[in-house]
Symmetry: C2
Subunit: 71 residues, 2 copies
């Protein structure tokens, strides 16, 4: 389970990074649109955070996507 | 944003409740499979919790579904 959870966070983070970059956002400009901190976005993208539903929603909204598109 | 977040938590909770019931789980038996507490499952289903990615994963896994199926 632990290894699966680590893999999930890594995969989610990589997906956020890919989608952010595809839309031409820097971490800093993306963080601003999300109303989250730049260092927090970096940690999510590295798979280091157990991100909450609210922040998953903010990220999806900033990307103009549905939450299900992030998974 | 706040109202959207509240609506999201309510919708997510209702979806978890529907899927749990469709699979014939009580809150108690479902909590055991999820390795979460019964009262926590109840709070999620009522839309009262800002559930984390790890717990979303545990719920999806217990239901035999992908995370995207919960949204």
């Amino acid at each position: 389970m632990d290894r699966e959870l680590e893999a999930l966070k890594k995969t989610f983070g990589a997906q956020v990074r890919d989608l952010r970059q595809a839309q031409g956002y820097s971490q800093e400009s993306f963080a601003e649109v999300c109303e989250l901190h730049r260092t927090y976005i970096g940690a999510i993208e590295r798979g280091e955070r157990n991100v909450s539903l609210e922040n998953i929603f903010k990220i999806a909204k900033a990307l103009g996507l549905k939450i299900s598109d992030l998974f």
